[in-house]
């Protein structure tokens, strides 16, 4: 089981340590880790499981903060990694983001949370709802109160009743004047288009996100019009397995507030909403690049926030790029970013320019990969459709809202 967790800032400073077992882990392990991370170059591509000379380290990186856990004995590595992710989620939920200052400013809350979340190296309470009741998240009111009175406790003095219930994810008996449930389909499209312009892989990763504000103990059922297209699914613990197995219906008692009800994957899609056509020709030490972006399949709604990013190959000395629409930026790490926004009606956005190769190179041998970003509101590109949402227990009226959003995931065009 885990022996210790360290929180490291983006400069490698140890911001916080929390020991769990009698075998204290020395801080020097962080120095070792940081040196290792530097020697590996890109720290975001570091392995999540590292065997150091004295400990096994698990690490995840979230918005510049490294969560580092140590153990000396056999344990499921995914358990450690998942737990660290959960800690990161909870912290960023509590603090409204993650960065060095936020953690340092709220270090007491971080300590209290860690103490509740893990005991003796084994996860204790990770359910956000229960945690929220045990340790109040910082908010404006509590801050003001603490300034004015100089005294405020964020530690609750009663045990959340949910710890004893059979639906530990739900606060018992919340009361709302307006009962409402919002269901969002949030999808990401992963696609790979190879050098010949062929779509070799295209799939949707989607999540059903629910924001529920219902009084009492509601029992909801959600059904889809076309559940057969769902390839793989994973559920929030609140979803009952039986109804899904037999009728592909989601039956659940929802947690209070925002949560991820399920995630799914729809595979082998046939087309993408956008096309991106790169063209690279090189000779005599330069390379001419043109990039065209346009709508291939109109999804019926506007596509916005279109960006194209690519990393210039290391052998390129300088680049001179310009576009007829949108702005082109070249960052210091040779990352080139073209933000287009929406596709204009009258013209096809294109970017063109010349790249100067390293002296001695006649022509380009390696080619960049273009990552495309976009966002389409109110459309689920997978075609998944919600049939109906019913409240089983209380026939009281409640407001239902459905939304959808598709954005680009790993959308890559190779050249």
């Amino acid at each position: 089981m885990l022996q210790c967790i360290f929180l490291l800032s983006d400069s490698g400073e140890v911001m916080l340590e929390k020991q769990f077992s009698g075998h204290r882990v020395d801080r020097s392990i962080c120095a070792w880790f940081w040196e290792h991370a530097i020697s590996q170059g890109d720290s975001s591509k570091l392995q999540p499981v590292i065997a150091s000379p004295t400990h096994y380290l698990f690490q995840i990186l979230r918005e510049g903060i490294t969560f580092l856990a140590c153990t000396q004995v056999e344990m499921p590595p995914l358990m450690a990694v998942e737990f660290l992710c959960r800690v990161a989620d909870v912290l960023s939920d509590y603090l409204g983001g993650l960065n060095e200052d936020l953690i340092k400013d709220n270090f007491i809350i971080v300590y209290e949370l860690l103490d509740e979340m893990i005991d003796n190296g084994f996860p204790l309470t990770t359910e956000p709802n229960i945690l929220r009741e045990m340790i109040a998240p910082p908010n404006i009111v509590s801050k003001v109160l603490s300034v004015v009175t100089g005294n405020s406790s964020n530690v609750s003095d009663t045990l959340p009743s949910a710890t004893a219930s059979c639906v530990p994810w739900r606060t018992t008996d919340p009361k709302y004047a307006n009962n409402e449930v919002y269901v969002d389909l949030v999808e990401e499209m992963d696609a790979i288009i190879n050098r010949d312009g062929v779509l070799v892989k295209c799939e949707i990763y989607g999540e059903v996100q629910v924001n529920s504000h219902l009084s009492g103990l509601p029992d909801l059922t959600l059904s889809f019009k076309n559940p057969s297209i769902l390839g793989d699914v994973r559920f929030h613990p609140c979803v009952r397995f039986r109804p899904w197995e037999s009728h592909q219906i989601l039956s659940f008692v929802p947690p209070d507030g925002q949560f991820k009800l399920m995630s799914y994957r729809v595979r082998k899609l046939k087309s993408t909403p956008l096309y991106v056509k790169p063209q690279l020709t090189s000779d005599a030490g330069t390379c001419r690049i043109t990039l065209l972006v346009g709508i291939r399949n109109d999804p019926g709604k506007t596509i916005d926030s279109i960006t194209v990013q690519f990393q210039l190959p290391p052998c390129i000395l300088s680049a001179d790029l310009s576009s007829n629409y949108g702005t082109v930026n070249i960052l210091s790490n040779k990352m080139c970013c073209w933000s287009i926004g929406r596709i204009p009606k009258d013209k096809t956005p294109s970017m063109s320019g010349t790249l100067v190769l390293e002296s001695g190179l006649e022509r380009l041998q390696v080619f960049p990969t273009f990552q495309v970003g976009f966002r389409i509101m109110a459309v689920a590109l997978s075609g998944l459709q919600i049939d109906k949402l019913d409240l089983k227990t209380i026939p009281a009226r409640f407001y239902k809202g459905f939304r959808a959003l598709t954005s680009a995931g790993e959308f890559e065009i190779r050249s």
Binding site: Q72, E112, R195, E410
Partner: protein
């Protein structure tokens, strides 16, 4: 327009962050010590206490030691404010172990809190109290846990479950039974939340106490989907282990290949069988085929752990297969297996990746082959969850895909590589893609590979080329078309490599040629044209390694087909022409190739080749590199029969038969047929799916392979296995004695005489020599078998030194001298101050005879009515089970009356059945571990006359290597309870090995497997003082030290002395650098345990001995280390 705007924005953002920081604890973290903390702690306001505690926590977070505030903080534990309480607890847990005495002050408060009406207070008190981890309060905590395990609040019960491992960590051996009982109670809890925590406690407290699971098995399976996710992960593993221990493996599963393999092996008399083995007919209807070789290995590794498996397979000693068949159950017939599979399958939908992987592991091992494919989609979906888990999941998929490529063959698209993947993920995906490619998917995969080759990351591109090679070897059908592609690639790279601007490019090219080479090897004749094309491109390929490989091919395939032999003259001339400008490896390869061609040549070509060769040899003779010059000299001598045309006179004395002989030799060297490629040996280390060991590829401490199938009920195999083990160890024992006597026999007196003269440098050894002569025919205790001279070494001519000695020393000594080199160098490097120090090996003869094991009193005559019982640990091996330790017990009757009916029995078995059900519980649990009894009963002593002494051998199984075992001694019908103290030194057995093996093994156990402690050793002083008194003969101090150290070690533990390295120092009195090595292996697990003693200090003074133990079992190693150090420090009984 607004030049000041930027500045304003900056101040604005600063101001806004200031606003955000107001009301937080920012100032406390930034400057925790700006006020005096101590008075705040004593304040009567909670808010001030809070602030002080927050400041302390800030200091802890920043890594400062603030334990000096401990007493003041502990006082505050009695507070009513929960916030203060929480903060105090946080502080307390951090420092409790450092300040145990002050921590005790808080116990009363905890006791009080445990009775609080608020469950949160109870839970916190329990958590903190258990977290303090002090031996003194352990009994109190145990009572508290017992109480809380029946608490009405689920949360408190859960915390009680979590407290159990903390208690267990304290090693409260007397209370193990109680702890296990609580685990059982909590496992039986009706709330899923408690069951999850109880499962975690079970896994760390008593992972092999299967009866505890057996009682609740069905219920645990049913409750599994409702248990919280973290508990699920652990519980799945426990249930899997239980089912295998109880029912064995599943007949239709992939583990079945194990028994098929065994069958066919027994049919072939244990020979390593080929993979052509056909599956039995019941598999014909099962679609997916799998690589039986690897699948077999996978299953073996799961059950035995890869280390044992690999070592065993190299010995080819297989367990007889007949009985193994019984361990297979059919899913249909076995309810327990069925229910496990049923209850784990919904977990594939879990949101927690670790749960999905754990469930997939169960199905991989237990599900029928036709159902295994259910794990594929959930596993692949995990790849989308997060980057961190992606890596771990891929590592596991890699093993699945290799053992059963058909599983993932359909889903190759999921392994396509994104540019955002890290290098390790890319490499894993490539490897998986290469191993799951099929005839139908290979075209698409190769197309994909072509894209990767143009990736800016050239290391990745080189890996891709290697992967193409592997694909084509697996699917030779595609080879010819793709070879074209690879060839085109070598030609295309020419442009870039010429400029040499990109380092990675060379790697890609080398990889391409290597792939081509390995494909050609499969079918040289079919790829004749490819070889020709490669040879033709020689001129344009500039990378040395690639050139060398192509030149190797010229030599290898010189007689292949029609065209190549015709090209040879030109090619060779070309090679000779460019010889001078080549890199080293290419030059060497050119020399080899020309010789190979020459040896095969006939007719007029022969003449040309001879000319080319002599030309190249001339060039090579003047080469700057000595390797090339040496090679040239060698070839010249070897091939003199071919070169005689040039220098006839010089070679005249060569006799014809000599000529024949050297020709034969040359042919042996150069024309030996390269072996047909054997299927790649599967030397992967495979651990259980989802384990940490599988990711780091070594057994992490605490890793346990699956339990032996049916070990819970099966007894036939158990005895069989252990019997075999025992005989094995027996034979090794005899080997040991053989080698010992052998070494003694080898060293004839004359040899030892030589060695002594050889050791002119060190003064002391003369005496040793004379001592050995004194002893005459009896084997000398200590002999210096070889010595290297400091003087000669300083000249740097170690080579010549060895030859000088070679005539003096026996063959054996020379070998060992050569062997010794690495060992010595490590000794030298460890002491940089003594650069010129050399060391010699001392072989200590039959020191075992002088070893006297320490004896302990089991029963005092005062307590035992005149019966005196002593015991000492013997180095003998038990013939029943490796878990048993042999103890010689001597009974002496010190009374006036005869005694009768003396016997020793296990206390628990002698207890009356009505004593307590707890006793039943413990016996049950002890039985479950292995069916080894605690005590193999001794022969009863029917009568013992006054003054008589009788000896019996006991075989005892200690449940723990530190705690005493209670035994019942019957004498004259009376029952006495005695305590048998275990000696960890005898939980190992001597494992004889040579120094090389020792150093090898040692290097395999670095880092966390290595423990060191230092101590002082004074025995030798007493010894030498004694010698001064009673004998005039002055012995060598070094030998004296070595002897006393070795004796001390051997009489305190069952070890085998590997070597003694002695420094040859300028100062005779300086023993620094003396190094003794001992080896042993742990009785129960057969894991090696290596001990090294290094000595610092002067001979006549107390010596600093640093003891180092390398052992895979951390806890055991540490305990053994303590034992060794203690035994070294304590004065020995006068045994000389």
């Amino acid at each position: 327009m607004f030049p000041q705007f930027g500045a304003t924005a900056e101040t604005l953002s600063k101001a806004s962050t200031m606003v955000f920081r107001i009301g937080t604890d920012a100032h406390l973290y930034d400057d925790p010590e700006d006020v005096n903390i101590a008075p705040l702690l004593d304040s009567k306001f909670d808010s001030e206490k809070c602030e002080a505690l927050k400041r302390l926590l800030a200091l802890i977070a920043q890594g400062f030691d603030v334990s000096n505030f401990f007493p003041q903080v502990v006082k505050n534990v009695a507070t009513q404010s929960l916030e203060v309480k929480k903060l105090v607890y946080l502080y307390l847990l951090h420092y409790a172990e450092k300040r145990p005495n002050e921590a005790l002050l808080s116990i009363n408060c905890f006791q009080k809190d445990l009775g609080d009406t608020n469950p949160l207070v109870r839970a916190w008190a329990l958590r903190t109290m258990a977290g303090i981890r002090l031996h003194v309060i352990a009994p109190i905590v145990l009572v508290a846990v017992q109480k809380c395990a029946r608490d009405p609040s689920v949360y408190v019960r859960k915390c009680a479950a979590n407290a159990l491992p903390k208690l267990y960590d304290l090693r409260l051996e007397e209370n193990t039974a109680t702890i296990e009982e609580i685990v059982g109670t909590l496992l039986n809890d009706h709330s899923p939340g408690v069951v999850g925590a109880a499962a975690a406690a079970f896994a760390s407290v008593c992972p092999n106490n299967f009866p505890l699971i057996g009682r609740n098995y069905q219920r645990l399976c049913e409750i599994l989907p409702d248990v919280e996710e973290w508990g699920q992960i652990i519980l799945i593993g426990i249930l899997l282990r239980y089912v295998i221990a109880n029912h064995g493996l599943v007949e239709e599963s992939i583990m079945r290949s194990l028994c098929c393999k065994e069958n066919c092996q027994s049919g072939k008399d244990g020979l390593e069988s080929d993979s052509k083995f056909t599956m039995p007919e019941d598999n014909s209807d099962i679609g997916p085929n799998y690589e039986s070789e690897l699948a077999y290995m996978v299953s073996q590794c799961y059950v035995e752990g890869p280390d044992e498996y690999l070592s065993r397979s190299s010995l080819l000693s297989k367990v007889s297969s007949g009985s193994k068949l019984e361990f297979f159950q059919s899913v249909e017939s076995n309810e327990d297996v069925k229910i496990l599979l049923q209850c784990t399958s919904p977990l594939f939908w879990s949101n927690n990746s670790a749960v999905v992987l754990a469930a997939a592991g169960v199905h991989w091992i237990m599900a029928p082959i036709k159902d295994v494919k259910r794990i594929v989609k959930p596993l692949l979906f995990l790849l989308r969850s997060s980057k961190a888990s992606q890596y771990v999941v891929l590592c596991n998929i890699q093993v699945f895909a290799k053992a059963m490529p058909s599983l993932f063959a359909q889903h190759f698209e999921d392994f396509y590589i994104c540019s955002s993947d890290s290098y390790q993920i890319k490499a894993l995906k490539l490897e998986i893609l290469a191993s799951i490619a099929t005839d139908s998917s290979i075209m698409l995969i190769l197309k994909e590979f072509q894209d990767y080759i143009r990736d800016p990351d050239r290391r990745f591109a080189a890996d891709t080329v290697a992967a193409i090679g592997i694909c084509l070897q697996r699917l030779p059908k595609m080879a010819s078309t793709c070879l074209e592609g690879l060839l085109a690639f070598t030609r295309q790279e020419i442009f870039t490599t010429d400029f040499g601007s990109v380092d990675g490019e060379a790697g890609v090219l080398i990889q391409a040629v290597m792939s081509i080479k390995s494909i050609i090897r499969q079918d040289p004749l079919g790829h004749e044209k490819v070889i020709i094309q490669l040879i033709r491109s020689l001129d344009s390929i500039k990378v040395a390694a690639a050139r060398a490989m192509i030149i190797w091919m010229v030599g290898e395939y010189s007689q292949l087909g029609e065209l190549i032999p015709r090209m040879l003259t030109t090619v060779l001339k070309y090679l000779a022409w460019c010889f001078t400008s080549e890199a080293l490896e290419t030059k060497l390869q050119i020399l080899n190739t020309i010789v190979k061609v020459l040896l095969c040549a006939k007719g007029e070509d022969l003449l040309t080749f001879e000319k080319v060769l002599s030309y190249v040899l001339e060039l090579a003779k003047c080469d700057l590199n000595y390797d090339v010059r040496d090679r040239a000299c060698l070839l010249k001598k070897l091939l003199s029969f071919h070169l005689h045309s040039q220098d006839v006179d010089r070679e005249r004395d060569y006799l014809p038969e000599n000529k024949e002989l050297s020709r034969l030799l040359a042919e042996c060297l150069f024309l030996r047929q390269t072996k047909p490629i054997s299927p790649e040996p599967y030397n992967h280390r495979i651990y259980l799916p989802g384990s940490l060991s599988q990711i780091v590829l070594h057994a992490a401490p605490g890793y346990e392979p699956l339990p032996k199938p049916c070990s819970l009920v099966g007894d036939g195999l158990e005895t069989n296995d252990s019997g075999e083990l025992a005989t094995n160890s027996g034979s090794s024992e005899t080997d040991d004695s053989d080698s010992l006597s052998g070494s003694i026999g080898d060293e004839s007196p004359s040899h030892s005489q030589h060695t002594v003269t050889g050791s002119s440098g060190s003064g002391g050894s003369d005496e040793a020599g004379s001592a050995s002569e004194d002893d005459g025919n009896t084997d000398p205790l200590i002999q210096i078998s070889d010595v290297s001279n400091t003087h000669k070494r300083q000249n740097g001519a170690s080579q010549s030194g060895s030859t000088d000695f070679g005539e003096l020393l026996s063959n054996r000594a020379l070998e060992s001298w050569l062997d010794e080199q690495p060992g010595m160098s490590t000794v030298n490097t460890s002491e940089p101050s003594s650069v010129h120090r050399s060391s010699a090996r001392i072989s200590i003869g039959d020191i075992r005879e002088q070893v006297k094991a320490k004896s302990y009193a089991l029963l005092d005559p005062v307590n035992g009515n005149g019966l005196k019982v002593d015991y000492y640990f013997s180095s003998e091996m038990s013939n029943v089970s490796p878990l048993l330790v042999c103890i010689e017990v001597s009974f002496k009757n010190c009374s006036e009356e005869p005694m009768s009916g003396i016997t020793l029995v296990d206390e628990e078995s002698s207890k009356d059945s009505d004593s307590a059900d707890q006793a039943l519980d413990t016996t049950e649990s002890s039985k479950s571990q292995d069916d080894v009894p605690t005590l193999v009963s001794m022969e009863e002593i029917t009568a013992l006359e006054p003054g008589q002494t009788m000896t019996r051998v006991l075989q005892v199984r200690f449940h723990h290597h530190l705690l005493p075992l209670k035994l019942a001694l019957y004498c004259n019908g009376k029952r006495l309870t005695v305590r048998l103290r275990p000696d960890i030194g005898y939980f190992v057995r001597a494992l004889p090995m040579d120094v090389e093996t020792f150093v090898n093994k040692e290097s395999q156990l670095p880092g966390m497997f290595e423990y060191k402690r230092s101590c002082t050793f004074i025995d030798h002083i007493r010894e030498s003082n004694k010698d001064k008194n009673d004998s005039s003969l002055v012995k060598d101090k070094f030998l004296e030290i070595c002897k006393s150290l070795a004796l001390k070690m051997l009489s305190n533990a069952n070890l085998s002395l590997v070597s003694v390295d002695m420094p040859i120092a300028a100062k005779l009195d300086d023993a620094s650098g003396l190094c003794l090595r001992f080896s042993s292996e742990i009785l129960s697990t057969s894991k090696p345990c290596l001990i090294t003693l290094t000595i610092e200090g002067k001979c006549s003074e107390p010596l600093d001995v640093s003891v180092k133990i390398n052992c895979e079992e951390t806890v055991f190693g540490l305990n053994l280390l303590n034992r060794v150090v203690n035994s070294l420090v304590e004065p020995s009984p006068t045994h000389l």
